[in-house]
Amino acid sequence: MAEAPLVRLDSVAKQFGTGEAAVRALDGVSLAVAGGEVVGIRGPSGSGKSTLLNVVACIIAPDAGLLALGDSVVWQGGRYQVADLRSLRRNRIGFIFQFHNLLPFLDATDNVALAMTLAGAELDAARVRARGLLHFLGVGRRAAAMPARLSGGEAQRVAIARALANDPPIILADEPTAALDSERARTVMDLLRRVARERGAAVLVVTHDEKIFDRFDRMVALRDGRIDEAA
């Protein structure tokens, strides 16, 4: 990819705890993901995969290094360079969380529509688009269901629809196919690939799922917070 990367990390470090209990969750990670690229992140449990995504999503502040999203440097020199992280999060990042994180008091449609109204969309238009997305992801019949009534796989797909709702240039997904059978898993990955191709989004996906490894442009392996070049 010749274009400037949409996501760039330079020697990012993140440590949890201090002294004896200190954990180096990220230990000098450098990574660049261009628009249109679908990058997989794998590694053993505790290797720092989720931490990496959370740093990119500005949910966890790194300790050192540099984070840039698109043209703007977001974190550098010990602090965020952007005042409104949440505006950045709702407008430029779509995050599919490991545990879905749907709001229990909104039905599937409104969980998706909320993300759009927070970004300034009209409610009615947002609902129409939300239903379309849910339908596309194969959960159209569950559009009016409350999250507590959804199966793990259905909830996962509603969460994916929410992440895609605002057409974000950066899509982060933490084990998005963990609760899905292999056919659904491939469908979801194909969808993410399509979003990357058609909209030029940068897609970063954490996964353990070997069945879908062939769906990535590139795999990055993490081990003890470092990129494992050998893998």
């Binding site: 989720s50 959370n54 949910i59 966890i60 409104d84 949440r86 505006s87 950045l88 999060r89 709702r90 407008n91 990042i93 995050f95 969380f97 490991q98 545990f99 994180n101 749907l102 709001l103 229990p104 008091f105 909104l106 409104d110 529509a113 909320l114 993300a115 109204t117 927070l118 970004a119 409610l123 409350m146 929410r162």
Partner: protein, 377 residues
Amino acid sequence: MNLALRDIRHRLGRFLITCLGVGLLLGVALAMVGIYQGVVAEALALTRSLAAELWVVEAGTRGPFAEASRVPGDVREIVARVPGVAAAGSITLRTAEMAAPGRIIRAQVMGYEPGRPGGPSSISSGRGLGGSRLEMVADRRAGLALGDTVTLGGDRYRIVGLTRDLVASGGDPLVFIHLRDSQDLQFKLAPPAARRAAAAGAGGSGTDTVNAVIARLHPGAEADAVADTIRRWKHLAALTDAEQAELLTRSVVNRARAQLGLFTVVLLFVTAVIIALIIYTMTMDKLREIATLKLIGAPDRTIAGLVLQQALLLGLAGFAMGAALLFAVRDKFPRTVALGPAEVAAMLGIVVAICILGSIVSIRAALRIDAQAALGG
């Protein structure tokens, strides 16, 4: 999309139960306000009903409510002749126990002459006192019905009329009898020694004593000026109705008022603390949802709005429930619960203020919640 309402709808039962709890608390607070107002209203009920503009009492006293007062019966004629006075009437006032079948009723007995100032301004059923003696008009609070008889000072009185909401400052119902009956009663109920002295003394003047003379004035007459004229009689003092009302609220029921007022303030303070705690608990119950909102980029204003709107809904729904409950049972209270639109509106304002102030702590806590709190399983 209103998140506050959606969340409430999601756990409606729990929210309604919380509202009911807040409602009971606010109902009690509202009742206290009503009882506080009721003490004042009760203290002034009699003077308002009598519609007197001037109270003539014994010199050196501030009677007949704040202090005992005795004036000779002929003072009424003196007062009636003072320029500016349209009508004057003698009254007696004493607390007595009356025997009704099966029970004893403590009442404030007021004697007056029908046709002259001193009677109740309105009778809610039956009629006022007529020409014959041993008749009584009683307030409904005494629990008597038309035609009932009660024994007072050895005489049997028949109830001919009923009034509404006329009570003495202590809460005892008022009953009205003929002035002559009340003077006989005064004599009969006096201690034996005083009775002997009166019988042996200067004949009629011993029993022709009243507690006060009340006067209504001609339109345009200045109450203060007429009072000044009356004060020239060395054995008389005069109070305007405004002074009498001031005395009743400032002096006669002052302690009760201060006690209730202080208690009301304490209760409102407790209510505020409890509502603030409930709002805080409601907010912390939503910790994960609030963290999720932050994860998907909801601005602080959305989160603060969620907390504040739910706090206000809680307060308003609770207030509505509390007020409805109180109005349903308020006639069962032994004393007046005086709540007009002004008191209800003021209380509503206080509740809104409590909810807004009570949510400040919760909003600050909600804004400090870390988005990472929603990331765990």
